[in-house]
Symmetry: C2
Subunit: 195 residues, 2 copies
């Protein structure tokens, strides 16, 4: 039996991505649950930010930002960067996160976050009270001690232990156990009714 929900802007599980933006004078951190990879040619993602957010001004100024995926251990730091405003405080100082130089852009990545993307803004699409920012991912980083030579892209998800966010539900979770890899389903299912 299905029930209908009042809110319709609900999606889970999503990353609680830490977006760094700004300039040499001050870098800010914003937590974003509204993010999605959208192309591989070139690698492109979208993030959505409320129109009145301080970080939007910063990204418009430099046309770049970094996306940093926190581990479960960093969930309070991640939540804090989503509720405090960079207009009023320095979130690097408050949380103890460290800036690490990027390779392809000026905006730093967060050293303590296990996975990081350097992004260049390519397009802005206004959507009501939000602005959807389309960006190209120009570099990807992983902590050396969280690599897995057996995985196709060299990431050991268990060691990364990424924080899981349930948007609008507003809950933080850990990942649990690994179920399997893509393309294993043909063991169980076969196309039987071709049309």
């Amino acid at each position: 039996m299905k029930k209908q929900l009042k809110s319709k802007d609900i999606l889970f599980p999503v990353p609680a991505a830490l977006v760094v933006c700004g300039n040499e004078k001050k870098y800010n951190i914003l937590t974003i649950g509204w993010i999605g990879m959208v192309s591989s040619t070139p690698p492109s993602l979208v993030i959505s930010i409320q129109k009145n957010r301080y970080s939007l001004e910063l990204i418009r100024e430099t046309k770049e930002f970094t996306v940093n995926i926190p581990s479960s251990e960093q969930y309070l730091e991640t939540d804090y960067c989503g509720v405090a405003s960079g207009r009023d405080t320095d979130k690097f100082a408050d949380t103890g996160f460290t800036q690490l130089k990027s390779l392809k852009i000026k905006t730093p990545i967060i050293k303590e976050c296990p996975f990081n993307l350097e992004c260049k803004l390519t397009q802005e699409i206004p959507l009501g009270e939000h602005i959807m920012l389309l960006a190209e991912a120009v570099e990807a980083h992983i902590d050396e001690d969280k690599m897995d030579p057996e995985n196709r892209v060299n990431i050991d998800i268990g060691k990364v232990n990424p924080l899981v966010y349930c948007a609008t539900v507003r809950e933080y979770w850990t990942i649990g156990k690994k179920l399997g890899k893509s393309f294993e389903s043909y063991k169980k299912f076969v196309p039987k009714k071709a049309k």
Copy 2:
């Protein structure tokens, strides 16, 4: 110490969303890891589909689709809907998933998936080999036995037990334990360096 990765179209954790599209003659199911909520005014999301996918033709025809979030138990069904093509088979028949009538659109939701969104296509944005589809979420459903009156949007994530996908890494995971709710971080961090 950071290492750089060859692939840059990596994002995790993401939903492994089952997208239903088509018409009365045949409904298809497509698995999408490239999805993101992007506005709440109105509730809007994007999904990205490769240009040559069968489902893209179907969505263009009806201008609607449903997004169905599977539970961890449905990971093999979910994987199968991502690797088999609806051009060659009937994935509802193959997996045993059941069509349930939607309330605001004609395209059905998947009964067995605990959370479902009905979506109307509003815009197409070509991005290389992918097409990003922007859609409005016009209805949201939850299984009655997975509701939680204590949560702000009435969803018990533990009971939903959503499947977690790590895109490009290509691994399926379960969720683990609940860490906490948003806005709890002020217990630990306080803005100390106002600027």
